[in-house]
């Protein structure tokens, strides 16, 4: 039961930290390709 409660709390916390519509940030590097990749 203890383990279950901890998991539930973590899941709840995760919901609070990530508002609706949350989009993960793209990796900071490398940047976008402007022309084409060779």
């Amino acid at each position: 039961p203890v383990a279950k409660r901890a998991v539930a709390e973590a899941a709840q916390h995760d919901k609070v930290a990530r508002p609706v519509g949350f989009v993960p940030l793209p990796p900071p590097c490398p940047g976008k390709i402007r022309h084409f990749d060779i």
Binding site: P26, P28, C29, P30, G31, K32, I33, R34, H35, F36, D37, I38
Partner: protein
């Protein structure tokens, strides 16, 4: 009090892009051969604080060759990047910059360039012509024939070869050699050069005395030679083209 560590930069952050623009302009400004390079991608960026408002920025850049010769007056922003099908050339650069009170300057740079692999070109475009070595016999022969042909017909100054920029050879469906080369104007007219070419000297190193030529030699199925040269300081505006756009967009890529 120790300075707070600088905020980490992402490769697409405006500060990184501003530093990359300074770096690319510096790299092109330092080069005297070949073509101008344009930014394709910021591969990595690191910032090391040296004190208040004083950072060292390390950039790894991926550049691509444009169609603008390095001596061309065309601003980099107006230069077209060569397409993959034209056998693209890539530049990999490591650049160290300083950002002092918001002003970015280059401290050091190191670049290597290489053409895309022939296998990649052939896999995606089997008929695309491949880049040839600049001392390839057919390339040298075409450059020589093209420049001689132009000099034999021009009413302008006699042109001398400065350097070969590119040579491409296609074998199918026709055997075609395409070349691009930089030229310099001499103090002779083409007519005077016919009498004593040895006396013709390059005019002083000024951008207006440089130019660029494109030439193609078809060997099969029938022999044909085309050449066009444009001196950067001798561009004549056409009535339907504004003066400035003609001056800064040489038609050296045109064929005739």
């Amino acid at each position: 009090v120790p300075a707070a560590p600088p905020a980490p930069l992402g490769c697409d952050d405006p500060e990184s892009e501003a530093a990359a623009e300074v770096a690319v302009n510096y790299i092109n400004g330092q080069s005297h051969h070949g073509y101008k390079f344009a930014l394709n991608r910021i591969e990595d960026v690191r910032v090391v604080s040296q004190g208040p408002n004083n950072d060292i920025i390390f950039l790894e850049l991926d550049l691509l060759e444009t169609k603008c010769p390095i001596l061309s007056p065309t601003p980099l922003a107006n230069c077209t990047v060569r397409s993959f099908a034209e056998h693209a050339v890539e530049g990999d650069c490591d650049v160290k910059l300083q950002r002092l009170d918001g002003v970015i300057s280059v401290l050091a740079s190191k670049c290597h360039s290489h053409a895309d692999s022939s296998e990649d070109i052939h896999r995606l475009c089997p008929d695309c012509p491949l880049l040839a070595s600049l001392n390839n016999t057919e390339v040298l022969e075409t450059v020589s024939a093209a420049l001689n042909d132009f000099n034999s017909k021009t009413t302008g100054p006699y042109l001398r070869l400065l350097e070969i920029g590119r040579g491409q050879i296609q074998y199918h469906p026709a055997h075609i050699i395409a070349v691009e080369f930089a030229v310099g104007a001499t103090n002779c007219s083409a007519e005077e050069a016919k009498v004593n070419v040895g006396a013709c000297q390059l005019l002083p190193e000024d951008q207006s005395n440089f130019g660029f030529c494109t030439g193609t030699m078809v060997k099969l199925p029938s022999q044909d030679l085309n050449v066009d040269c444009q001196l950067y300081g001798h561009q004549v505006p056409t009535p339907d083209t504004p003066l400035l756009s003609r001056v800064f967009q040489p038609t050296s890529q045109d064929t005739s």
